[in-house]
Structure formats: C-alpha cells, structure tokens
Symmetry: D3
Subunit: 227 residues, 6 copies
C-alpha cells in the first residue's frame, strides 16, 4: 500500500508545520464559506485549483459532479448541499466540471456502462444535458460534443440545485450565489458560467461571471391582490 508512505510524510513533515491551524480547527470547528461539488476524478483536486487550506472548502465529490434534484430523498449530494447551507451557512456553491471527464464521455460510449449499472443509473441525472447535446449539437465533431456535454451538464446541475429548499430560500434572501465552473486539465484554466449562459474567463476580478446571483428579496408589490 504505497499511499501509506504519503501518510508518514504528512505526519512527519507537513502536519508539524500546520499544527496550530489544525488545533484551532479542532477547537473552533469548521467555518467554510464555500461548497464545491466536483468530480471524483483524481486529476481535479478542489483545494489545489483554488489554493484552499484546511477549513476553507466544504467538498462534495462524485462521478460527474452531479446534483440529483431535491425530491430524491436520502441522497448524499442533497445532504451535503443542505448541510452546507443550513448548518454551515456557506455563501457560495460551485459546481465544477472538467475536461476529459470519464462520466460525461460514457454518454458517447453506452456499451461501457453495461458492466456498471449503478453508474448508468446515476448518470440519468445528466440525461437532460445529453438530450440537449443530441438535439442541438449534432453538427459538432466528437470532441466538441463531449465538451458540450460537460458544459450542459454543469448547467443542468445548477437547475437541480435551485429546487433544494435551502438553496431556493438562500437565493431569494440574497445570501447565496451559485457558480458553474469548467476546469481544463491541460491548460489549467477555469471558465465560469455567466447569467447569459456563456462560459467566460475568470481572470478579470472586476467582472467575475456568476451563473445564478443572489437576488434581492422580492417586494410585496409582486403579490397580486384580488380586485
């Protein structure tokens, strides 16, 4: 078990330098401001690409960075969302897709899923994205269709997020915003979905794309009064 060598290095070399941080975190508990939902892929390390230290990022990872809709009681992702918003009070949720995603590529190679029935069922939560790709991106080549699938998947998971009660309320109360990211492994770049549905660069700090911004609370005037 090679990995045990890394554990020894952590305990011997790394932890002693961060002891104060870890002890404070053990004493005071965690107070992360951000939930990141990303793929289980070994090449997409959330803390690395955001340069976050222990205590900064609440992280949910699964194959395909998927968020089943709230009605699926009992779900691990919905629970992570609920815990992050209600118990921890995070102010941002990021769904982070990535290039060369095995889960998304499986939609173009369905035979491979025959030996993975659970993965197949799980990916049904990305079926709306696949239907969009089938309907609207048929003229693209294979690689472009895969990338379209990754991007549309991020978009549909943001729809799913919005039917979680705590998220719906957080958005309406102006306390929460939702972000859709694309991480490109080869170039190290991150693009973010804006509210017009385009993925744009994230390197202008004054013009960061936000997929679903926090709203202002609606005014009472919205309420219709019978004549």
């Amino acid at each position: 078990m090679e990995i045990i060598g890394g554990v020894a290095r952590f305990q011997g070399d790394v932890f002693p330098q961060q002891r104060d941080l870890f002890q404070a975190l053990a004493r005071d508990g965690q107070k992360p401001k951000t939930l990141m939902i990303s793929c289980a892929d070994s090449r997409v390390v959330p803390e690395l690409i955001t340069q976050s230290g222990p205590g900064e990022l609440f992280v949910c990872r699964n194959a395909g960075n998927i968020v089943p809709p709230f009605a699926m009681k009992n779900g691990g992702v919905s629970s992570a969302v609920e815990y992050a918003v209600v118990a921890l009070g995070v102010s941002e949720i990021i769904i982070c897709g990535h290039s060369d995603c095995g889960a998304m590529k499986a939609f173009f190679n369905p035979e491979a899923l025959e030996t993975m029935p659970n993965v197949k069922a799980w990916l049904s939560h990305a079926e709306p994205a696949h239907e969009v790709v089938r309907t609207c991106y048929g003229h693209l080549d294979h690689d472009e269709q895969v990338q379209a699938m990754v991007l549309e998947n991020v978009a549909i998971q943001l729809v799913h997020l919005q039917n979680h009660p705590a998220v719906a309320a957080g958005l309406a109360a102006g306390k929460l915003s939702l972000h859709g990211w694309f991480f490109d492994i080869e170039s190290g770049t991150i693009k973010a979905l804006d509210s017009n549905g385009e993925f744009r660069d994230t390197n202008n700090p004054d013009d960061l794309p936000v997929a679903v911004p926090a709203r202002k609370p609606r005014s009472v005037s919205r309420i219709v009064k019978a004549a």
Copy 2:
C-alpha cells in the same frame, strides 16, 4: 468571492510548475490505484493527509463518509465505487472517518436535524452504528460516545462496501482490499482498522492494519457434492 484569488494564484504560480504533469494526465488519462471515501468536512483534505498529487487519488466525499448499500440504485457513492473498481481497477478502497465529525455528532443532537430532512434521511445509513453505540457504549461519556460513533460508522460502511458486486468479486479474486481509517484533526494521526476489529496505529510499515484483506480464490473443495 474570495476564492477566486486562489484560482488566480493557482493559474499564475502553481500550474506552470506542474504543467508537464497535468498535460501528461490530460493526454494519458487517470490511473489512480486508490479510492478514498471521506467526509465533506473542510478540515479533512484527502490529498493533503496522504500527500497525493493530481492523478493519484480517486475521491468521493459526502457528509459522514457514508456508503449506502448497493441495493440503493442510482446512488452517487455506489457509482463512484463501481467506477473505481470496474473502470479504473483500483486495488484499495479507504473509508476515512475523522474526529469532531458534524454528521456523526448529529446523532446525539437529533433536534438539529429537524431543519435538515435530507441529512436526516442520509444519516439513516449510519443507523446500525448508532444502534451499536446505544446498546454497547452507554457507560461512556459524551465525547467517547461520539468517537465510538465515528469508529462504528467506519465499520458499518465497510459492511456496506462488501455488498457491491464489483467489490465482492474483487475481494474474492484477491485483487482488492478494504481499509477503514480514522483521522484525528487535532493530532494529525491516522489509525486503521485491523481484521480483529481494533483501530491501530499506522506508523509501522511492516505491520499495516487491513480491515478486509484481499482473499485467495476459494478452492473447489468448498463446493458440496450431493452424496
């Protein structure tokens, strides 16, 4: 959005030094040998405590490092397990619990779950561990009971892992081993469950505790022949 500053540091400072690694990973795909299932807690960073780089660790994270049993079709954790074993061929699965786990502490403060119905439902997958604690650890003080809950939870999730077809077959074929870890935030130590049900230190590389070792294929002599 503070986190975006970290993204800029990653792109400006970190990625250029790892460009070759990332480009190789983009070109050749991922080949991790280990699946780690850990908590979404921001203080438990799998790649940090195992000193793993990009491409080395397939990671599934959820509140409470839970593995629902296989029969729960459609599940994200089961899909990650299936993908890791069938598609990636990992040889080790680690379930990593940790001290001060908010999910496990919720069992001792059930009122807090009333506003988190999805978390409550999700934690039902740790109910067998809770029942063991209630039955057998009633004489311990509160903190000890919490810790017992964390450890028993790791143990029951290892039971759940074993009813996944790919895991059952991997164990029987001698190609897969299962590990149950406990990470202590305050001390940075990691203990591992051994096959006698004890959590022991991991710092003796010649005597690493393994919860469920790979088996030898059974001999035909096991098969009963009718008289």
Copy 3:
C-alpha cells in the same frame, strides 16, 4: 348520481351540434399545441378560462398544479409532459396556479394533513416554495402569505419542468416556451410570470409575459477549446 343527468344532456343536446368536430377528432387524432398543468380544483376549468374546444388543450390536473422533478421515475405529471412534448410536439406548457388553493393553504395548516399522508408527501414537491415564503415573506399577513405561496409554487414548478430532458431540449432548440399563470377566481383575471420574476397582466397581446422563452440554439463559439 346527479351527474348522469348532465351526461344525458350532453348526449341529447350538445354532442349532436359538435358531431362533425368529434368525428374529425376521432378520425384524425388530437393535435393540441398547448399543455396546461392546473389544479384539480373544481373551480378552475382550463377549457373554460381559455375558451378552448375539444382537441385544443392537453390537460394534466392534480392537487396543487405540481410538477415533480424528472428524476422521480414513474410519475404521472412527468409522463404527461413527456408525452405532450415528444409525441404531440406542443409548443407551450402552462402551469396554472389559482387563488384560494386548498393545497397551498395546507402549508399553513399542517395538522389538516395528518389524515392525508399522501397529500402531505405530494406537497413536498412544493417545499422549496414554502421555504422561500418562510424566509422572505414573514412580514406579510396570512392572506398575502398564502398568495405568495401560490406564486412561488408556480415558479418552482417551472424550475422542475426545466430538468425534464424533452423540455430542456425543446427550450434549447427554440421550439418550446414555458408559462406560469395565476388565475384569480373572484375576479376572473389571469396574470402571467415574466422573465424578471414578476406576475403581470395578460391583457396586452403585444406584450405577453413569458416565464421561460424559447432560446436560440447556442452558437458553437460557446464551446471552450483547450489552449
């Protein structure tokens, strides 16, 4: 059974005058352009308030005009949506809420639901709307909160609609638009949700509010190419 008198009147007086229409519909099949999802309430008659004749309106009615998200396989509403879009090719889906809705009022009188466990479970699909009302409309009086609940419920069901694959694809392909209506029983008025989240009058035919308009197909330029 009083209603049987109405059947006799239909057969004796009404049908003979519409015989040609019915025979054409029997011969040629139905070709409605609109799916209306409305409440089962006896006071909200879709064909009456839209003055639609036989063959014009595909209608799904349930308590609370609810659309469970797509992931709930086996559902009657999702099936009606799928059939309307895929088999019939409707170009509009209307979700129509209404004043004095017993289903929505039940959220403010939860004891009444104790004897109706199925209704209680069904209404969980409107829980995100209820959470918004609880969080953002606490300063309103009871009647206003009920009305806010009706409106927010229409809004959340429109979110649910968008995760149906056929709807997601229809919107992206520019062939489908989604509408959110509010019918006031007392005044006979209908308001419609616009894309800014406001319910507005529908009596200006040149400025009809549309909740989710058909999109133009996205251009290829959306697709990110790795550097």
Copy 4:
C-alpha cells in the same frame, strides 16, 4: 400564443355572465360531489361530457386515466383521491377511459415508448390490463384488442382505487361508490361498468350500472369468535 385570445374572450365575454357564481365559489370554497379521473387527451373534456359548471367536478387528469396503487407514496393521483375523499367528502369517483387512447395504443407499439421512458414507466401501472389482453383476447383483431385494453385498464384502475385507505373505508361505510366509464369520441356515447364486469349503456336513469357500489357496514356477526 393563440390561446391568449381565448383568455381575453373569457375575461371579456364569459366571466361577466358568471361573476356571481365565481364570487360565491371564491367566498364559500368548493363543494364538489364527484371526483373524475380521466385522460389528459384534449378530446376528452370532463366538464363538457358531464355538462358540469365551475365548482361541480374535482378533476384529476393524466395520460391513460391511471391510478397507481396506494403504496406508491408521493403520487399525484393518490393525493387527488385522498384529498377528494378526506377533505372534500365526495360521494362518487369516476374513472373515465376513452376510445383511440394514445396511452393504451402504446402497448401495441412499444418501440414508440423508447423515446418516452417516463411514459413507459408510468404505463407499467396498466400492465395487469395488458397481461389480461395478451392472455384472453389474442383472437381479436387489432382495433378490438385496443378497445379491450381501454376497458380492462378502467377495470384494473378500479382495483387500485380500492387499496386507498380512504376509499376502502368510504366503501365499507356506505358513503362512496366507484364508477368505470368508457367515452367513445366518435359517437359521444358513454358506457359504464356494472358489478358483473360488463360495460353497459348509461341512458336508463333507473338502471345505472355501478362498478363498485357503496356497501352496507358489515354486521358484527362476520367476526369469528374462537370456540
């Protein structure tokens, strides 16, 4: 959006003549005596074929006039049934099938369902009817088999109704009766299922067929006393 013209006609021409009725209904609430469960088909308008006005008919419509059995918690149809019986106290439930039903015809053209997975799953609730047709009506021609399917489907949905607790209790208490109808689009006729399993004409008001009549409360003598 053509339908908006109908809305204008309703508001301008129709509503003013029914204003008193609608205001009374808004003030006093609904008190319908009948729940009708019919198909979403645009050619089958429940209020038209029963000549019912606003406030008279509680209506649940879905593809195939299906009633999943009670055990399917969370269902829209079961909720409409429960609400109608428990909250509104209806005394009659009618399940109304019809000729040329697209949902029933789909059983004879299963390929068409491949692009409608939700409809396919939904129609599994009519599978018992289909199995009866396959087993007992194989000697009929295609059109007759379709009609047999429509009729057997009405019959099986009446079985499903009877396992709803409120329906079972209403029947046993003599307060509720169940009706199975067949509406023929071409001729405008309605046939009703009698308690011998035959669909008969409904034009003799002194001999109306009833599928499942209200029972008398059982006498205590039914109760077996141990010797």
Copy 5:
C-alpha cells in the same frame, strides 16, 4: 444451539423414511399446485395445518401475511407470487391470517413500533384494513377489533393480489382462484372468505367458500363497438 438436535433427528430418523420422496423431488423438481402466503408466526405452520408433505406447498411467509401491490418493484412477496403463477403454474393462492397476530395487534399499540421502523413501514400495506376498522368497527371491544383487523387485512391483501399481472391474467383465463383464510390457534379451526365477503366454515367439502373464483374468459360481446 438447541435446534441442531432436531437436525440430527431429521437426518437420523425422518429422512431415511422419506428418502424416495426426496430423491424423486430432487430428480423431477417441484410441482406444487398451491401457493400459501402466511404469517411468520411460529404457531402457524402451513404444512401442518394443511397436512402437506414436501413438494406440495409453495410457501411465502412474512410478518402479517402481507402482499404489497405489484407496483412495488423489487418485492419478495410479489416475486413469490410471480414465480408461483408464471414458473410453477399454481392454480390456487391462499392468504392465511390467524388469531393473536402480533403484526395486526401492533396497529392498536403504535408506540411499540417506534423501535421497529421497518415493521412500521411494512405494515403500511395493511393501512387500508386499519382505516376500515377505525371507520366501521369503533363500537366493538378491543379483542373484536383485533379480529376485525385480521379479517379485513386478509381481504385487502386479496385486493393487492389482483393487481399482479400474472394473477389478473390467471383469473381472467379461468386458471387461478384466490382464497382468504383465517386460522384460529386456540381451536384449530380454519374459516374461509366467500365471494360475499363473509368468513365461513370450511368443513363442508361440497360448499367451500372461495374469495375470488376463476372467471370464465369474457366473451367478445363485452367489447363496445363505436356506432
């Protein structure tokens, strides 16, 4: 483990006398004509009360002799029913309730179920019977209500049986009949439900009560032809 003594007695004393029968059954397979669904209660031994030998009775036993409706995919009871009718071709299904049934008595002592959440959920399949008892048998004393519960439960499980496709088809084809029994532990008597809803003695072989007799195949004349 006391029971192992019984195993030794079976192998030493009983089996040698039935060796021919067991070897024939091993060689030729089973061909039972009857499926009995009875309670797991240790006092209700199906083979004993019907004096059936090995190979004669296909037996499904669970707490409360319950048959969930067919729509509950994945169920053990539905599978036993399906296997018995389709693979074995049984001609009779018996649902056998009994006096002093712990499962039925639990409806009158709901607190006891708090520590048995699975039992509680399982018994929801008998909820229609309970609702009938609550509505119609309130004037009876406790013991009579328990017995009414047992009898009504047998009746509702017979309703559930009828929505299984293979059962619906078997009845319609005249190849299957359904029986509802009540076994009284104290007196050893068995009563059977007749088609009028009464439980009657079974000791007149010329007048055996049958709950749901095999039907004759319906004649084509049932099929309505459009005018």
Copy 6:
C-alpha cells in the same frame, strides 16, 4: 381444491392430539428462539428439517432466501428480521439455502426471467454472489457453478443481515449469532458456513460451524483518545 382434505385431516386427526400445546400457545403467545429465513421452495420445509413443533421457529420464506439490505425501507424480510430480534428476542438467525434452487438457477438462464420482471428485480439482491461466481468459478462445470451460486448467495445474505441495526447491536452485545446453512434435497444433509468461509458438516455437536458468532462487547480501550 385438494388441499382442503388436508385441512379436514388436521382438524379431525392432528389438532386434537396437540390441543393442549395450541391452547398454551394461544394463551401465552409465541417465544421462538430462532428465526429461519429459507426459500419458498415446496421441498424445503423448515419445521421438518429441524423437527420443530408449533411455537419453535419464526419463519420468513421467499424465493431464494434473500435478505435485502436494511436501507430498503418497507421490506418484508427486513421487517421479519426486526420483529424477530426486537420484539421476540431470538438468539439465532439461520439463512438456509438449498440444492436445485430455481431462483439461483435463474442466474444461468436469464431469458426465463423476461416474463417474470419482479423476480428479476428481486434477484438483484443476489447479484454480488453472481458476480463472485462469474469472476472466480468460471472453470467449474454448470452444476458446480449453480451450487457455488447457492453457497455464495447464503454468504452475501449474511452480509446484508449485518447492516440491520438490531442485528448489528445484537452481535456487538453478544446476544445473537448468525448461521448460513445449505440443505441438500437429495441426501437430506445440512452443511453450515464457518467463520473461515467454509461449509462444513453439522453432525458433530461439539464443533458446530457458526458463520458470525456473537461477539464480546468491545472494551473501551478500542476508543482512540486524541493525543
């Protein structure tokens, strides 16, 4: 109905000889020490092969002696397990497979399951056993593979048992043991799984194989204390 003759023999000949036993059981209730979970197969009579009388064996029978994992709420087998352990306090649970099992043989003849969709879904709970057979026993002939399937199925159902909260607690508290049996119809022999994974003879009362023995309560020393 031939079976009714057996009922008459039971009432006339058998019951009178056991009247005292039955009356005591009716008066005092059942107190079985053992739960047996066996196949519905008519050739496997639990009370016969263990020579148990009325009141001695709580029995759950289904096709394939399957125990779905606990997370499958609402299940009949899980309810029987829960009732047996919590309400009756049994000290042993036996899962009893058998030779020539139709359910297990179906894995090698999947076409036969096409007409039995419920059985097919039910057998998915034995899929881990099937995957082990496919992976590790490919070199065996057909009959041996069938037998391997039966044995591996017993083993995986024992895994499922251990995730039931009451079972997990009973084992940890030293009050419950789990047994895996194989009954050979042709020879009448019973083998039992030992804790090393081998099925061995049961005819040495001093060396009975036990699959999962009752444990001693864990000592507090297992609990890790943070440094």
